[in-house]
């Protein structure tokens, strides 16, 4: 992100806790990131890494109880989203910030037609009347590549395929020309062919609407094809953040590097054995004192087990939280040095 631009979204020092029977879980700890206007940030991590919790807290959607945002600041343009009353937040959700989720079938109301559900957004947020809403709904369905849009308005979600439902979700998301689109694994449940279509659709719309995107995924292939910048999360913390080219070319955190090495690829031949990362992700209720990745890391030292490394700038726009990362070259970037 170039320093001259005011960020669209600025998250700082975010902490999210969940109270469970097994004790308090720190789902997100000290996470901060910025998204510039028109930029696409990918958040990568496995289940339990806290990536979904981060974006749910942006939208005020952390289920409370058991969850709670215990610290942090989330600014969207000039407004603080965390302190905002639910009524005002609701006006922003779905209009200026839109979201799409992994499972479109459970995000759509099975009892209402597609047309009713798109029109609802337009009527609520833009105060459109029936006829205008209908016209705009047809336009939106065409925009996301659904033919025979007039007929499709009368379809119920179960009458559509998975890819079509996700297109409808995107149409609903785009209804109010949002400045920020938040996508939580939106293509994970879809076939590769449909995934490619949805990703290309999002790219086209991004260009057309100059929209910022936060895209959550565990698929590094999708990241490479879509993101400008990537944030890698592990056990509730950011372990690395970089531009997409820097991350794939010179991953600095052993977890990122290990993931990239262990992926089988269609465009490469691997020997017999994949270089897998050993062990498994830690239990969030019993996190070790030092680095959460220490138990699986090949470069672990005593210091890693004792002290937790902070996220520090390594090069312009490339930060990493690792004691053993190669020494930084001194060009600290204003945006990342304070985290």
């Amino acid at each position: 992100m170039s320093p001259g631009h005011a960020p669209l979204l600025d998250v700082d020092g975010l902490n999210v806790e969940f109270r469970t029977q097994g004790g308090t879980i720190n789902a997100v700890s000290g996470v901060g990131f910025r998204v510039a206007p028109g930029e696409t940030l990918a958040i990568v991590g496995e289940s339990g890494s806290g990536k979904s919790c981060c974006v749910l807290s942006i939208l005020g959607l952390i289920p409370a109880p058991p969850g709670k945002v215990t610290a942090g600041r989330i600014r969207f343009r000039d407004t603080d989203l965390l302190g905002m009353p639910e009524r005002e937040l609701r006006a922003i959700r779905g209009s200026r910030i839109a979201m799409i989720f992994q499972d479109p079938l459970s995000s759509l109301n099975p009892l209402l037609t597609v047309g009713t559900q798109i029109a609802e957004v337009l009527e609520t947020h833009l105060g459109a009347d029936r006829a205008t809403a209908r016209k705009k709904s047809i336009e939106l369905l065409r925009l996301v590549g659904i033919d025979a849009a007039e007929q499709r308005l009368n379809s119920y979600p179960h009458q559509l395929s998975g890819g079509m439902r996700q297109r409808v979700m995107i149409a609903i998301g785009l209804a109010c020309d949002p400045e920020l689109l938040i996508a939580d694994e939106p293509t994970t449940a879809l076939d590769v062919t449909i995934q490619a279509q949805i990703i290309d659709l999002v790219k086209r719309l991004r260009k057309k609407n100059a929209m910022s995107i936060v895209w959550i995924t565990h698929d590094l292939g999708v990241v490479a094809g879509l993101a400008d910048r990537v944030m890698v999360m592990y056990a509730g913390r950011v372990v690395e953040e970089a531009t997409v080219d820097a991350l794939f070319a010179t991953p600095l955190h052993p977890y990122t590097a290990g993931l990239l090495r262990s992926l089988p690829r269609v465009d490469a031949d691997h020997g017999d054995e994949l270089p897998a990362i050993g062990g498994m992700p830690p239990d969030l209720a019993r996190l070790p004192e030092g680095c959460a990745f220490a138990a699986r890391c090949s470069r672990t030292t005593d210091r890693c087990r004792r002290e937790r490394p902070r996220l520090e700038a390594h090069a312009a726009g490339h930060s990493v939280a690792c004691w053993n990362a190669p020494p930084s070259n001194g060009t600290r970037q204003a945006g990342t040095s304070d985290r």
Binding site: E46, D147, D191, A196, D219, V222, Y255, L259, L260, L274
Partner: protein
């Protein structure tokens, strides 16, 4: 080479019915449509294709978990399709399955020891102390500590549960294992571990795998041969390298072009569009159901043309002949079969 599984002209059709009170059959869905192929002893053959293409039904029909409408399946010299239930149960000892979801495929009320020992009891292979010893050995084989055998599934992570599922499949010394999306639900950092384990076990126990997956990168790493399925038919079957380097069927090409590559420089640029997103490949029949015989509509399959090649409505190469006649799988080179008039 010696085939372990032979499939001959296999069909699995499901009736489509309408009406609540006066149910009538209005058509059939051909989930598996005239499929013939072989799986060689010790090899991994992978089935790839979109959801609803019939790959799981085909695997279930081979194991006789789904009784085929017609056709034959041989396991070695035994014809499974003709076996009486008791004989089939005996034959099943040599054929096991590993499932996608390690959370729902293990009984939460049984300990790991009971789960892994169950096939030993069912097939009368071992009981009592003998069985406990075997369970301990199996857990070690799949990389779990035998000390964990009295724990319950919820005490394990997804990757560990999948290891338990694999130990259960190995318990009765099978020859043939069907892996149905066995690594799809696992965390990325765990997938490589399980892939390596499956390969190790294959070498160690001379296993034959039928591997069902939608992840074409994983399939490339694991398989010796790959079959692409579309709408109940095998459209291409080839040695791994041939299929990935020189795919002949337009559907296989579409599938491969859609795989995201973890390399920002690999595509013509991440702001470019991939061929799979060509508006022409958006299923026109899905959009206009009136254009197709309603009897052949299956919500999962999408809409398949009533005559000709089932891919013709999505295919950029389709001609009148494709819409009229269905192409049969035919060899185009050594170890490479394609069902396309244009190959």
């Amino acid at each position: 080479m010696n085939p372990l599984i032979r499939v001959r002209d296999l069909n699995v059709h499901f009736p489509v019915s309408r009406g609540v009170l006066f149910k009538r059959t209005t058509g059939v869905v051909r989930a598996v449509d005239r499929i013939s192929f072989e799986i060689m002893r010790g090899e991994t053959l992978s089935l790839v294709g979109e959801s609803g293409c019939g790959k799981s039904t085909l695997a279930r029909a081979i194991l006789q978990l789904e009784r085929p409408t017609s056709g034959r399946v041989y396991f070695g010299n035994t014809e499974l399709t003709g076996l009486a239930p008791a004989a089939l149960r005996q034959a099943r000892r040599y054929m096991q399955m590993i499932f996608q979801d390690p959370y729902s495929s293990l009984n939460p009320r049984m300990t790991v020891a009971q789960i892994v020992a169950e096939p030993l009891l069912v097939h009368g292979v071992a009981t009592g102390r003998q069985s406990r010893k075997r369970v301990a050995g199996l857990l070690q084989t799949v990389g779990l500590s035998p000390g964990m055998m009295h724990r319950y599934p919820h005490e394990f992570s997804g990757g560990q549960r999948q290891r338990i599922g694999i130990a259960r499949a190995l318990a009765v010394n099978p020859d043939f294992i069907v892996c149905d999306e066995a690594i799809a639900a696992l965390d990325v950092s765990i997938q490589a571990q399980i892939i390596n384990l499956l390969k190790d076990l294959q070498r160690q126990f001379d296993l034959t795998y039928l591997f069902i997956a939608h992840d074409l990168a994983v399939v490339k790493h694991l398989s010796r041969r790959v079959a692409a399925m579309y709408a109940g038919r095998i459209v291409e079957l080839a040695d791994r390298d041939r299929l990935y380097d020189d795919p002949q069927h337009p559907y296989t090409r579409l599938l491969l072009s859609a795989v995201p590559v973890p390399d920002p420089g690999a595509r013509a640029g991440r702001h470019a569009e991939s061929p799979a997103a060509d508006p022409a490949s958006v299923d026109p029949a899905l959009v206009d159901p009136a254009s197709v015989d309603p009897a052949l509509v299956d919500p999962a399959l999408g809409t398949v043309p009533a005559t000709g090649c089932s891919f013709s409505h999505r295919c950029p190469l389709a001609t009148d002949r494709c819409r009229r006649d269905a192409p049969e799988l035919r060899p185009v080179a050594e170890g490479h079969e394609v069902a396309c008039f244009h190959a």
